[in-house]
């Protein structure tokens, strides 16, 4: 395959997503990242490198990224001390509702997932939640979730400083309008068409007049991702760092 036929050039899909997340977190002072989120983690580290912000990584044992016990993250979020966080879902619908609990009738449904974890709380507290799910299929992006682990929008009067800012998938980036509880396509990744996104999305979303292609990371950014960021995320995410970047975690 020549460079012309591959619209990503030598940029890996993971690297593109890291760069997208970096852009969405511009200026965030403090981003928290879950235990199994290497791409969000790398994106947050990249953004923090530019803006001087802080990244807390659940499960990291690096002092700079560690939490002070299990409760601190939630307390900080409720105080407004966490600007950015990532959520995902076994199902996500067009109103931004996420389902981490199970498919089918609750509780004895067809599939049981692990559970809501902190979502039913953090989705309300963190002003810049990025919904992140690489698999972009109608199985995931459904018209209506079977179980609302955490709602995408709230009634007026419900204290809710937080909510989704964007949705990042393997195909595209969408913006989320919290007032309207509705997604708008922001960009499609190189080589992806709007039709492909529509075909694989079970809910309606809005389209801008023209849909740009997701910007590839610059050569400089790529260099940083592959060196500094790859080294740092090897601490909490050794398997990811080795698979994607060939980086082997240094002993603590």
């Amino acid at each position: 395959m020549s460079a012309e036929t591959n619209p990503m050039g030598d940029v890996k899909r993971e690297e593109l997503l890291i760069s997208v997340i970096d852009g969405l977190l511009d200026g965030a002072r403090h981003v928290a990242v879950g235990a199994l989120s290497p791409i969000p983690g790398a994106g947050a580290l990249l953004a923090a490198r530019r803006s001087g912000g802080r990244v807390t990584i659940i499960g990291s044992d690096l002092p700079a990224h560690r939490m002070d016990g299990g409760v601190e993250l939630f307390d900080m979020a409720a105080q407004g001390r966490v600007d950015g966080f990532f959520l995902s879902g076994g199902q996500i619908d067009g109103q931004g509702n996420i389902n981490l609990t199970g498919a089918g009738d609750y509780p004895r449904g067809d599939v049981r997932w692990s559970g809501a974890f902190g979502s039913a709380f953090l989705y309300f507290q963190v002003p810049r939640v990025i919904l992140f799910r690489e698999e972009h299929t109608r199985r995931v992006f459904v018209p209506k979730v079977d179980f609302i682990s955490a709602p995408g929008a709230s009634e007026p009067g419900v204290h809710r400083p937080g909510g989704a800012r964007a949705l990042v998938t393997g195909l595209c980036v969408m913006d989320f309008d919290r007032a309207r509880a509705r997604f708008t396509l922001r960009s499609v990744h190189p080589g992806v068409t709007v039709e492909e996104v529509r075909d694989n999305t079970g809910f309606d979303f809005d389209l801008p007049q023209s849909v740009p292609t997701t910007e590839l990371p610059s050569a400089e950014t790529l260099g940083v991702i592959r060196s500094e960021i790859a080294q740092t995320i090897a601490n909490p995410y050794p398997e990811f760092a080795e698979r994607v970047f060939g980086v082997v975690r240094k002993a603590a």
Partner: protein, 277 residues
């Protein structure tokens, strides 16, 4: 008044069938104690996980020990779903009480403080709340009106269990930076501790550790259990054993689907390979 140091079976015997049993997510999961409970055929445990759980809860469910599980999530993390948990929820073999992480902490903090409830933000509009009739929504009395807020009732476990790196024969257990283990122990009516080692000197006199102990006020009994968190981690002594957890995940998946087989339990037994030879 000094908590006794027991052997593991006697320690497990202090967890009665039907107990409201609190356990924190790994690391520091008391896996050796879980094996004792399974061996004994413990029944009807009401498990509350702080705030989530992994192999510990999955294995107890696989062993038929659990009636109710109150949790924000049970998962084997990078090793995939928790097979016995998922199957038991779907079949109705265990009753699930889904929570969200900070709500579990909130309930235990209320228990620790001896207050009947504590408020928490968020949650409103979720199906988590819709399925928790024991949680209440009130109007924040400090606002003029129209500010609904969730109240979580105090959780007071009958027994909390934890595995630590170091304890002493006076009944102090060192928890490092895992402050939530103290919250759990304080909230519970009593705490059972297993430890990699039980030392003879008083850890309260060790300046480096004195501030991070579960103290004898809360500890009912202890047992020395080297390797007591295996195959999960017990920092700083050892990390998670990925091969063993992967093997468990695979065997548990098979057993949960087919409804039989004890290979998963054999794989959770230290030295099983040698024993099988």
């Amino acid at each position: 008044m000094r908590p006794p140091v027991l052997d593991l079976a006697d320690l497990a015997a202090r967890i009665p069938d039907g107990a409201l049993l609190a356990v924190a997510k790994e690391p520091n999961a008391p896996m050796a104690l879980a094996r004792e409970l399974i061996r004994r055929g413990a029944k009807d445990l009401h498990l509350v996980t702080l705030p989530t759980a992994g192999v510990f809860a999955d294995a107890l469910i696989g062993g038929g020990c659990v009636k109710i599980v109150e949790t924000s999530g049970v998962s084997l993390g990078e090793f995939g779903p928790a097979p016995f948990f998922a199957e038991a929820v779907k079949s109705g073999a265990v009753e699930i009480r889904d929570a969200t992480c900070p709500a579990v902490y909130t309930g235990l903090q209320a228990g620790e403080k001896g207050i009947p409830f504590m408020p928490i933000r968020g949650i409103i509009g979720s199906d988590i709340l819709a399925n928790r009739p024991d949680w209440k929504v009130i109007d924040n009395p400090f606002e003029a009106g129209g500010d609904p807020i969730v109240l979580i009732p105090a959780i007071r476990p009958d027994v909390a269990v934890v595995h630590v790196s170091e304890a002493d024969r006076f009944g102090n257990a060192w928890i490092g930076g895992r402050h939530e283990l103290k919250t759990m122990a304080h909230a519970a009516h009593c705490t059972l501790v297993t430890a990699e080692r039980i030392v003879d000197h008083d850890l309260r006199e060790d300046e480096a550790k004195a501030a991070n102990l579960i103290t004898p006020i809360y500890v009912e009994a202890l047992a020395e259990a080297p390797g007591g968190s295996w195959p999960l981690a017990c920092p700083p002594d050892y990390a998670l054993d990925p091969g063993a957890v992967r093997a468990y995940a695979s065997a548990a998946r098979q057993s949960a689907r087919s409804g039989g087989g004890e290979e998963w339990l054999r794989l959770l037994t230290p030295g099983h390979a040698e024993a099988a030879e």
